[in-house]
């Protein structure tokens, strides 16, 4: 799957990009180029223990991964689970509706203002989230998407007006956010 999109540069210009199903090329870039940026810290293994999960997309149907690509370089990645998770909002437990759960959402190291100002590209995370809502709708989940935001990123989800259920003790106290049914 390759979907042509517009991506906003740090300077505010629009350039062509793609949302693609994650390929071996993208996985390579995440493991080698993104990781290469962190090698300077001399702690690559400690800092990098998540690519095995991205590889699950090749073995298990319930996982899907997508990237935003500009200039053939992966600028952000999202890994979703599409079969096992249910809404945390519905009661009773037995009637909880299925949703898309975001296992991982990450932008490339250079797409954040505190690392690079202006960043190379802006809005990568928002683009991936919007795409995943459409994927949720396509799967029949009406746009429902759940995730646990990392500290420092929860402001992004609050700005998106994504309802939250506060800290989740089962996930080290990370705040759980969940988009409900998508209204057009």
């Amino acid at each position: 799957m390759q979907l042509p999109i517009q991506v906003t540069t740090g300077a505010g210009a629009l350039v062509p990009g793609l949302i693609c199903t994650m390929s071996q090329e993208h996985l390579f870039q995440i493991e080698t180029i993104w990781r290469g940026i962190l090698l300077a810290l001399q702690e690559p293994d400690k800092a990098w223990n998540w690519e095995y999960k991205l590889r699950l997309t090749t073995n298990e149907d319930r996982f899907e991964a997508y990237v935003v690509e500009v200039d053939t370089l992966a600028q952000g990645v999202i890994l979703i689970e599409t079969q096992w998770h249910r809404s945390q909002f519905d009661e009773p437990l037995s009637s909880r509706t299925p949703l898309v759960y975001v296992e991982y959402l990450a932008t490339a190291p250079w797409n954040r203002r505190t690392v690079e100002n202006p960043p190379f590209y802006r809005g990568i995370g928002g683009t991936l989230m919007a795409f995943v809502r459409t994927r949720s709708a396509e799967l029949g989940f009406d746009g429902r998407v759940g995730l646990h935001a990392l500290p420092g990123a929860d402001g992004f989800y609050r700005r998106q007006k994504m309802p939250n259920y506060g800290p989740d003790p089962d996930k080290d106290g990370l705040v759980y956010f969940e988009y409900g049914t998508l209204q057009l």
Binding site: L41, E103, T107, V115, T134, G152, L184
Partner: protein, 177 residues
Amino acid sequence: MDDKLPTQHSEHYSDLIAQLNDPAWLKQNTEMDNDGWVEAGNGLQPYVAALKRLSDEDMRKMKEQVRVLSMLLPVLRDWMVSWELGASFEAAYIEAQTLLFQHIQRAATAQESWVKELATAYEQGTRAEYPPALLRKRLAEILTQENWQALAKAAMQDMEKRILQHAQLPAELPTAV
């Protein structure tokens, strides 16, 4: 009525996808990005922690490397597509990216002039002064003879693997009566 459901679903989906290229939505999306920290998923905590420890020097090197990669990778890809490697393209292209990235990392650390030149062109918006033919020539200079051998080997090994996996297939098929 049931017949209409797929169409309605499809239209709904198309509307959602179209939103991704809507100028008003793009503007709003950029504003919401703020500082760019959007990470979700408990397993990414070490990644985020590591990023927050990058030094100014790490960031300088990263900036150069990404600019040079953004200039060279599309040209490398188009060039290799023209080699008509078929199914082994991906294996060879991944090897080529690995080698190129290694050269760029080394050159950025040593502050070699070609890295600075390309990074500056990207930064100043003068990429157009570097047409694909010129960048292909630059790529040919960057890659060593050993690198070219490694690319050929990667493509060859991938093709060998693809052929040999079929050698075991007949044993798995039921015997014809």
